[in-house]
């Protein structure tokens, strides 16, 4: 005998206790700390900070621990916390030209002021699993440049700019508000500041695939990695009551400037154009993907042919947010039995009509065309 299912509350509690138990894993293995995650899984922490739009390595590390290493879940946890925070002001724009460089490479020039700095990179490693890492091992000291070596490293695009070979960056209106999609609904057409914000917090995998698609011909942008730089920048704020800049601290950022071919149009001479990527922490793949997609989304404003997925702002921006995407995809887990019931009833009815039509068609002589069953027509 059927008894109406009760006990949702008890089941939820039990499931969450089980989750906590599974999260801990084998109790004979020492529990991981969020400090260990912050220090030793730093790139995971960086990705969470970047896509959560919240620069807090400790919080991101804790979120990764709570999420059992599921980074989208960790991003979600950090976002849900972020949205409860008060805004007490807006910082001044950071100066990435004055970045304390930890890594800086240009694929466009062999050498340039400030030099090429490889920094901590997987590039040129041979991807061979290292059995030595299975055991704790001593780490040799990295080599350090002499302080006076830290020469000024102007942006590659600034070097091109001085020759007029690249489109100038548009100067913002000093008092113009910057778009903020965490404080207003996303609308179209989306201006570039809003697009860049959406891309900066967009899913790395989604942007990677879109950027890749432009390289394979779906909206080619002919990019050169003008420059990728990673390092610390100072953040400062001008409190209204003081009227002068106060440094708040520093951020690690990765910035990518793509330099793209442009054949010119009736309005603009042939020149290089820009695609821009800027993300929290060391997230190079994301910064590069972002720069590719940013440039693609400018196709219409530059009078280029459009139609590729990566050139479609409404398509890209509406689907780049992985917290939104995962929520809606996974909501299919929720009960839908009311709607399913409605569909069941309709399907049974349509099938009954189809059977009846077919039975009556079989009793009639063949060749009697014209009045076929609507369902049969649809199947053709």
């Amino acid at each position: 005998m059927y008894v109406a299912v009760k006990g949702g509350e008890a089941a939820i509690d039990a499931a969450h206790r089980l989750l906590a138990y599974e999260r801990r894993g084998d109790p004979a293995i020492p529990e991981i700390t969020h400090e260990q995650i912050r220090e030793q899984l730093a790139l995971a922490v960086n990705r969470v900070m970047c896509e959560a739009s919240l620069y807090d390595p400790d919080l991101a590390a804790l979120a990764i621990k709570q999420a059992r290493g599921d980074l989208i879940e960790a991003i979600f946890l950090s976002r849900a916390y972020r949205t409860t925070l008060n805004r007490f002001g807006y910082t001044e724009p950071v100066d990435t030209g004055g970045m304390r460089i930890r890594r800086r490479i240009s694929a466009s020039f062999k050498d340039l002021p400030g030099g090429q700095v490889l920094g901590p990179t997987f590039d040129y490693t041979h991807r061979l699993i290292d059995p030595a890492l299975a055991q704790p091992s001593a780490i040799s000291e990295p080599s350090r440049a002499e302080p006076h070596h830290a020469a000024a490293a102007p942006h590659v695009t600034a070097l091109l700019d001085s020759e007029g070979l690249i489109e100038p960056n548009q100067r913002p209106e000093p008092d113009a508000a910057v778009a903020d999609l965490t404080r207003g609904a996303l609308g179209f057409p989306a201006p570039r500041d809003l697009r860049l914000q959406a891309l900066a917090r967009g899913d790395e995998g989604f942007l990677l695939a879109l950027g890749y698609s432009t390289q394979r011909g779906y909206g080619r942008t002919h990019p050169f990695a003008g420059e990728i730089r990673m390092g610390g920048v100072e953040v400062s704020i001008i409190p209204e009551e003081l009227g002068f800049e106060i440094p708040l601290g520093s951020l690690m950022l990765t910035e990518c400037e793509m330099v793209n071919q442009f054949k010119g149009s009736a309005e603009a001479p042939p020149q290089f154009t820009r695609g821009y990527g800027l993300v929290f922490g060391h997230c190079e793949r994301k910064a590069m993907s972002m720069a590719l997609v940013d440039r693609s989304l400018r196709a219409a404003e530059l009078g280029e042919e459009t139609g590729a997925p990566a050139q479609d702002a409404e398509f890209v921006l509406s689907h780049a947010d992985n917290v939104q995407a995962t929520g809606f995809v996974e909501h299919l887990k929720l009960p839908h039995y009311v709607d399913f019931q409605a569909e069941l009833a309709l399907l049974r009815q349509l099938r009954a009509e189809w059977e009846a039509e077919r039975a009556s068609a079989e009793t009639e002589p063949r060749g009697d065309t014209g009045q076929g069953a609507p369902w049969t027509e649809a199947a053709e």
């Binding site: 005998m1 059927y2 109406a4 299912v5 009760k6 006990g7 949702g8 509350e9 089941a11 939820i12 969020h34 400790d58 919080l59 804790l62 979600f76 976002r79 849900a80 916390y81 972020r82 949205t83 409860t84 008060n86 965490t182 404080r183 207003g184 609904a185 996303l186 609308g187 179209f188 057409p189 409404e314 509406s318 917290v323 939104q324 995962t326 929520g327 809606f328 995809v329 996974e330 909501h331 929720l334 009960p335 839908h336 039995y337 009311v338 709607d339 019931q341 409605a342 569909e343 069941l344 009833a345 309709l346 349509l350 009509e353 609507p374 369902w375 027509e377 649809a378």
Partner: protein, 287 residues
């Protein structure tokens, strides 16, 4: 990092955010059926799981309210339990499963069988607020279609249904016209529930968190399900009563009772069914 628990505002959202959401709600009430964009916040539950409804509820809820939360008509489905607990924890308001006792009802996919009354607020969770979305994926296009009341595409779709299936083959999220102006998505409620929206004494609010839209039906708004003169809207009907309480003219869930084709049809509205049984009503499957 401190281990202290963050203290949240009443009903979780800060007052500034609630004010912006209330402004969107007021605009929605002023233009029934129109989708008002609003700055949806990340909530501590996933997008697509009721974040729009939760934000609307959080914005209209006061300490004196009594809250009911249902999903698929039932108070004890897991997501309804989760949302009810969220407000018990963050707002401390009393909750109920009784439709009559609630001042605010948040729902997913159903309208209660017990008629709603003046003073009540029914808040729907909305997955896709745009009724034209599956005909035209671009928001820029659909907003213009609404502005121009250009609904030909929808009528063609319904006509094609009739040409192909002999009827309008939409059983849930069946589109409606509000006060003769906007076509509105009633959310994925079964079309069985559509007539309850019309001339309803309660205020009906709709929140779509991921899609950042709020819309509303003020009390006693005219809501008409789309149809044609020669193919009028038909409400789904069931050929049997509830197996537990014997009700007819209510929406039923089909429950699989064994692997030999055994089925039991029971009320989807658990509160309604329990009340009937408490009053001594019995269906064919009752002990």
């Amino acid at each position: 990092m401190t281990a202290s628990t963050p203290i949240y505002n009443f009903a979780y959202l800060d007052e500034q955010t609630k004010r912006t959401i209330r402004r969107a709600i007021l605009k929605a009430i002023a233009i029934p059926g129109y989708q008002v964009p609003f700055a949806s916040r990340e909530m501590p539950m996933p997008y697509g799981w009721g974040t729009g409804g939760v934000q609307v509820t959080a914005s209209v809820l006061g300490p004196d309210d009594v809250l009911k939360v249902i999903d698929q008509g039932a108070d004890d489905t897991t997501n309804a339990v989760s949302i009810r607990r969220f407000f018990e924890k963050t707002a401390g308001v009393p909750t109920t499963t009784e439709t009559e006792a609630a001042t605010v009802i948040q729902t997913r996919h159903r309208i209660p069988e017990t008629p709603l009354a003046e003073g009540q607020i029914l808040i729907y969770q909305v997955p896709i607020p745009e009724p034209l979305r599956f005909l035209e994926p671009r928001e820029t296009e659909t907003r213009q279609m609404h502005a121009l009341q250009d609904y030909g595409l929808m009528h063609v779709k319904l006509y094609e249904d009739i040409a192909r299936h002999g009827q309008i083959a939409t059983t849930y999220a069946y589109p409606v016209t509000v006060e003769g102006r906007y076509i509105m998505d009633p959310t994925p409620i079964p079309k069985f529930d559509n007539p309850k929206m019309n001339d309803c004494p309660a205020l009906q609010l709709f929140g779509a968190g991921r899609e950042q839209r709020i819309y509303a039906l003020p009390p006693y708004t005219q809501v008409v399900s789309l149809d044609f003169d020669d193919h009028p809207f038909e409400r789904t009907s069931f050929d049997r009563p509830c197996g537990l309480c014997g009700s007819t003219g209510v929406y039923l869930d089909e429950v699989v009772t064994d692997d030999k084709g055994g089925r039991l049809f029971v009320c989807s509205d658990t509160d309604f069914c329990e009340k009937r049984r408490a009053a001594g009503q019995r269906g064919g499957a009752s002990l």
